[in-house]
């Protein structure tokens, strides 16, 4: 699904976090929001998700204005930096959560939910762990569960906040590949936030570079490397 961000701004107290940001993201794209800390990238992601409200501007999904739509109705999947798994629920209950809170006739029955959990566990390559609790999993496994949980309701948009930040280098590489595969297989439009240049360039089709609440450049990695749009971009990517 296409995502259009039109002139979005956000101010915290007196400091402006986003300063008229616009981005047009194509259907099926895998986009990285790259920037130093304090550049506003996480704020932008949370506004796209509906977890934070913009002070001005519009967000459109597939051409439809969702600016005023609450987070529950945006049809997005969100993966948090620290995974935010429900610590008192098993892996299976975590993954099924989005299905169990559905209302009325939309809510799949128990057997259908169990089937979906199995499907998702296979998708993220964690079969057999459904009875474990989050505290009994490694960092990489938790991240995979968080991903499966976010995908349970078949969102067309996946948003990830520093998804690999807390992992060691080897697990990080494995997960990157896994995430890219899942993105392609499920047919998602994905946006992830990172401060790691190498990660952004290795994974994304297009990278948006943010600095002080403004987009410095939005282009494929090769183009950013060959033709940086500003001095900041040149310094940041070199």
């Amino acid at each position: 699904m296409t995502i259009s961000i039109e002139n979005v701004s956000k101010t915290f107290d007196t400091q402006s976090a986003l300063n008229g940001v616009s981005l047009a993201i194509e259907d099926g794209a895998f986009v990285a929001l790259l920037g130093p800390s304090g550049s506003g990238k996480t704020t932008l992601l949370r506004i796209i998700a509906g977890l934070a409200a913009a002070d001005g501007g519009r967000i459109l999904f597939g051409g439809e204005d969702v600016t005023e739509r609450p987070v529950q109705k945006r049809g997005i999947g969100f993966v948090f930096q620290q995974y935010a798994l429900f610590r008192h629920m098993t892996v299976a209950q975590n993954i099924a959560f989005g299905l169990t809170v559905m209302k009325g006739k939309d809510k799949p029955d128990r057997a259908a939910r169990d089937r979906r959990v199995q499907e998702l566990l296979e998708l993220v390559r964690l079969p057999g762990l459904e009875k474990r609790f989050p505290a009994q999993l490694s960092g990489g496994q938790r991240q995979r569960v968080a991903l499966a949980r976010a995908l349970a309701r078949n969102p067309s948009i996946l948003l990830l906040d520093e998804p690999f930040g807390a992992l060691d280098a080897k697990v990080r590489k494995e997960l990157r590949i896994a995430l890219r595969e899942i993105h392609d297989r499920v047919g998602l439009t994905s946006i992830f936030v990172t401060h790691d240049r190498e990660e952004a360039f290795a994974l994304a089709d297009k990278v948006a570079i943010l600095n002080l609440g403004k987009i410095e450049q939005f282009a494929p990695p090769q183009e950013i490397e060959s033709a940086p749009a500003s001095d900041f971009v040149r310094d940041f990517v070199s």
Partner: protein, 285 residues
């Protein structure tokens, strides 16, 4: 013993004799100040045998006091549980101006003398109080009646649940709630499925302390109750009444019930701490 512990002990380094004296001193003090009085309560209560004890408890005034205490606790605990959760939620999960002031305000019932609290309610709702004429015009009695006792108890037990939950909820952050929202849960589902299970043991602990205080409160209730026998006397007040009438067996019999309640609270509290120490650790107990 691990190396770290070993080093720590060596560093503190008292000789064995000093340690022994300190331990004995601590135990002796504990026995004198805590165990002996507790023992005395039960010894005095049962001094004339089990049947006298039972008869004393079964007196109508005493039974009325027990009933009133149970009613007051049955109101104060649920009400302060709900408000405690709301307070803790507001403070732990949101940022707003004046938050620190708000947090200190919650502690007010702990820092003000209960007698003063009782007097405040008399001033507000008494016959010559601010709302006195309105209340008497509508034939509502607050002071020297059950509503006043409930209000005073609500006031003094207000901080327990909130105090218990604020550090716990602050430590847990907002992530899990936000995750639930992105997964389509509404506010109520998020609270019921995510927030409440995460705080349940801390909440139970806070409720337990609320209950203990609600049943044991003397000062604030004493000022507002008017000591009407069989009507507005709670158990602690009944103890005082009986004692002042030189009915020591009766006074200590009721006191032993309160002491028993304290012991049960202590046991459940310790069991909770032992089973859920990780979750309660954040609460600073």
């Amino acid at each position: 013993m691990s190396r770290a512990q070993h080093t720590a002990r060596a560093a503190v380094g008292e000789p064995g004799a000093v340690r022994l004296v300190l331990i004995l001193l601590a135990l002796g003090w504990l026995a004198l100040v805590i165990l002996l009085p507790l023992f005395a309560v039960f010894a005095q209560a049962f001094a004339r045998g089990w049947s006298t004890y039972r008869d004393t408890i079964a007196q109508p005034d005493t039974l009325a006091a027990i009933r009133l205490t149970l009613i007051v606790a049955a109101i104060a605990v649920p009400v302060n549980t709900v408000f405690g959760i709301v307070m803790a939620w507001t403070i732990a999960k949101h940022d707003f101006r004046g938050k620190d002031f708000f947090v200190s305000l919650i502690d007010l019932p702990f820092s003000v003398s209960p007698v003063v609290a009782g007097l405040c309610f008399v001033l507000l709702f008494g016959r010559n109080g601010w709302f006195g004429s309105w209340l008497s015009a509508h034939d509502i009695q607050v002071v020297f009646a059950v509503p006043g006792i409930v209000l005073a108890t609500l006031f003094v037990t207000f901080p327990f649940v909130a105090r218990e939950l604020i550090p716990l909820m602050t430590a847990q952050g907002r992530d899990e709630e936000e995750a639930a929202l992105t997964l389509g849960a509404n506010g109520w589902q998020t609270f019921w499925h995510v927030t409440l299970p995460n705080i349940r043991w801390g909440l139970l602990y806070g409720m337990l302390l609320t209950n203990a205080r609600a049943m044991g409160e003397f000062g604030a209730v004493s000022v507002i109750s008017g000591h009407i026998r069989g009507q507005t006397n709670t158990m602690p007040l009944q103890v005082e009444v009986l004692y002042n009438e030189y009915n020591f067996t009766g006074a200590f019999a009721v006191a032993s019930l309160l002491a028993g309640l304290a012991l049960v609270t202590l046991v459940v509290k310790t069991a909770l701490e032992w089973r859920h120490r990780e979750q309660l650790a954040g609460a600073g107990h």
